[in-house]
């Protein structure tokens, strides 16, 4: 990293409201980082290949050219190094946005994330805050080779001190990333790779629901499907299929995995009395266990049936030619709902 000659660290143009335009999730994320950098000179961006290349998913495309080496830089190839140095920068008052190139490549940084990022504020009685955003492209369905399709959310969710969010669409991607960068808490920002090229019409800077809230994305009466990130689309498709068969499904996009929005989700479950949680990660010890356990604890006497988990199998994420058998599909979800006693 080279120091700037001048003391200004802002970009070239302040973000204003722009006309609506179709935009991919990758572009929305890009705009969110750019706008945050323009608004706040303490935001810096670094990681592997995020500079001239613009990241392997092009999420940081153009930012190096716009903001220069002082604020956007390629780091040496070491994930623990990326998180560890981000911590030091945050102590000094910067707000680092860093990228772990693929989910499984966040694991070398596990100690820095779990033992420091998550615990620094508590350790220091709130005196040191770490406003760091750790962007992690995660999950599968992109035909990726091994280690490129992990869903690692259970690790982060099980770690007190971390905030974990995941957008499922371009509007949330923009809004939630802005909010994550503005947060004084460290945020694990999980980007569903298979949704990077999904598109929506957006007028930036768009503001959706606060990032710690779940959202009912489709109303229904009979069943609540709880999804997040890549599986929201699957859940909606399932609801559409089901409606043809006369089953009314409510779909919730969790958005925030930690904290969990008990209020919104419990309200839906109390209404429908039946719920299932959908995720790509393996079931055993997965995030869905927390969802099922806490909803059951809080709404036991409202439930007509056990909360189901429709998830990946308890095996490592498969190779491209086998991932179709692994990922939850609308058919599989509907079949699972059919196993309930429907009295």
């Amino acid at each position: 990293m080279t120091a700037h000659n001048s003391t200004t660290h802002t970009g070239t143009a302040a973000p204003a409201t722009r006309p609506a335009a179709p935009m991919t999730m990758a572009a929305a994320l890009n705009a969110a980082i750019r706008d945050a950098m323009v608004d706040d000179p303490s935001v810096v961006l670094f990681g592997e290949d995020v500079g001239p290349l613009g990241g392997v998913f092009r999420v940081t495309d153009g930012l190096y050219a716009e903001f220069g080496e002082t604020r956007v830089s390629d780091s040496p190839l070491a994930e623990s190094g990326i998180i560890g140095t981000a911590i030091g920068m945050a102590i000094y008052g910067l707000r680092p946005v860093v990228e772990m190139q693929f989910d499984a490549f966040s694991y070398p940084a596990f100690e820095q994330i779990v033992s420091h990022v998550a615990k620094m504020r508590n350790r220091t009685r709130g005196r040191i805050q770490l406003p760091i955003v750790i962007r992690i492209p995660y999950a599968g369905d992109i035909g990726g080779v091994e280690h490129h399709s992990d869903s690692s959310e259970a690790y982060w969710a099980a770690t007190p001190g971390l905030t974990g969010v995941t957008p499922s669409n371009p509007a949330d991607a923009y809004s939630m990333l802005r909010e994550a960068i503005a947060s004084d808490d460290p945020v694990i920002f999980m980007e569903p790779k298979s949704r990077y090229w999904s598109k929506a019409e957006l007028a930036l800077p768009v503001r959706t629901a606060p990032m710690n809230q779940a959202v009912v994305v489709r109303e229904g009466a009979d069943v609540t499907l709880i999804a997040y990130g890549p599986t929201v689309k699957t859940a909606i498709a399932t609801a559409e299929l089901a409606s043809e068969e006369g089953l009314s499904i409510e779909v919730i996009d969790l958005r925030s995995l930690s904290p969990f929005d008990d209020e919104t989700v419990s309200a839906s479950v109390r209404k429908t009395s039946r719920a299932a949680v959908i995720h790509e990660a393996a079931q055993f010890g997965g995030y869905g266990a927390e969802v099922a356990a806490r909803l059951t604890e809080r709404n036991f006497y409202y439930l007509s049936a056990p909360i189901l988990r429709i998830t990946g199998f308890d095996i490592p994420y498969p190779s491209p030619k086998l991932e179709e058998y692994f990922l939850p599909t609308p058919d599989r979800i509907l079949a699972a709902l059919g196993t309930w006693e429907w009295s």
Binding site: G143, G144, V145, I315, S319
Partner: protein
């Protein structure tokens, strides 16, 4: 061990390592001429016969690489990281190993696998997306191609240490990229190897890029070989496009390891001629003039000039090599026409050695789901027939 009271245990006992010269060791220069023995760092030029063998393997490997890249462009492989231009490093690595030695390669080193005898079909299994890895590790003594960077270097050190503990003479050689040396695991591997005096060779292919990140944003030392000093092991800075030098140095390092002399680090200075993988766009981060300049340092052409000059590369030989290369390319294309039979139920088979009820249940669930789909499909077909 008892410690005599000394200022520091290591100052007295550890070897003094001299920093490598800042010019890479070469035995044959860009023009294909043998360098003067006085500049050869004590390494002897391999015999023309050995060099001819290396030449053949390089030509064949390149043909394979080009063929697979073409297949990838046609969309028939999920991904393929090419080693085009790095054949001298890859082939020297394999040629330096004995049959019982082990190789720990990365995603980039498919041609090393090929050279060590892995059938194209088995190499391509992972790149075709059939399974995560697809060859016979114990037959070939090659670990799975590693994706998480530098992790395999530790595996190599562990295997080498096990060989030493058992009193065997197996050596492990691991291939690493320049970028991978920045990972903590590379450091831990170098250090464990040196402390345990493991019979291991670290061969860093410094192709000067880690995806888009150039060497000078990766490290601030002069050469990667310099890093060896901090571990107390020998480091060699070698022209990675000179297969003669690479073979001489890596073979010597393997011998040292085998004879109880501990680990070495060999840097082969080379260049990644192709994109990182097919999904990469190198025009975003490097000038084509650099690539062009390196094309002029091609490891195959250089050796060819030398072999022609010493008269061992005859037309007959050339024709035979071309035939072998083309046969391999044909076999590679041909293997792509065979659709591997992939059984989704195998997904559950290898996760554990000890059977698990829950996995058996999941297996049955999937089997049932597939059967139902097939039944439904058959019904639809039956109805429409």
């Amino acid at each position: 061990m008892p410690h005599d009271c000394v200022m520091s245990l290591n100052v007295e006992s550890a070897p003094v390592i001299t920093q490598p010269a800042p010019t890479p060791l070469r035995l044959i220069d860009d023009a294909g001429l043998a360098v003067d023995p006085s500049e050869a760092g004590g390494f002897a030029l391999p015999s023309p016969e050995i060099l001819l063998g290396l030449y053949r393997r390089m030509v064949v490997a390149r043909r394979f690489d080009v063929q697979v890249t073409a297949l990838t462009r046609q969309g028939r492989l999920a991904t393929y990281p090419s080693a085009l231009g790095q054949e001298a490093c890859e082939i020297a690595a394999v040629a330096s190993l004995g049959a019982l030695d082990w190789l720990f390669p990365t995603y980039r080193d498919s041609i090393a696998l090929l050279t060590r005898g892995v059938p194209p079909e088995d190499i391509l299994a992972s790149f075709r997306g059939e399974w995560h890895s697809g060859y016979d590790y114990y037959q070939h003594k090659i670990a799975p191609q590693a994706t998480p960077l530098a992790t395999q270097a530790l595996h190599a050190v562990g295997l080498a240490t096990a060989s030493k503990l058992k009193g065997d003479h197996t050596v492990a050689l691991t291939l690493l990229g320049d970028g991978a040396t920045s990972e903590g695991d590379a450091h831990e591997a170098f250090n464990f190897a040196a402390v345990w005096q493991a019979p291991v060779v670290f061969l860093v292919q410094n192709n000067q890029f880690a995806i888009s990140v150039p060497l000078d944003k990766q490290m601030a030392c002069r050469t990667i070989a310099d890093k060896a000093i901090g571990y107390g092991m020998p480091g060699y800075f070698v022209d990675g496009n000179d297969v003669a030098a690479m073979y001489a140095v890596v073979s010597a390092a393997v011998d040292t390891a085998r004879n109880g002399g501990g680990p070495s680090l060999v840097e082969g200075l080379t260049y990644r001629m192709e994109a990182h993988t097919n999904s990469d766009d190198p025009t975003r981060y490097r000038d084509s003039s650099d690539v062009d300049a390196w094309r002029g340092r091609d490891p195959i052409e250089r050796l060819e000039k030398y072999l022609v000059s010493v008269g061992v590369l005859t037309d007959a030989e050339r024709a035979d090599i071309t035939r072998e290369a083309e046969d391999l390319a044909a076999a590679t294309r041909e293997c792509m026409t065979r659709t591997a039979v992939i059984d989704p139920l195998e997904l559950f088979e290898h996760v554990y050695a000890t059977p698990r009820t829950a996995l058996a249940e999941q297996r049955d669930f999937l089997a049932n789901e597939i059967a139902e789909h097939e039944a439904a499909a058959a019904k639809t077909t039956g109805e429409s027939a």
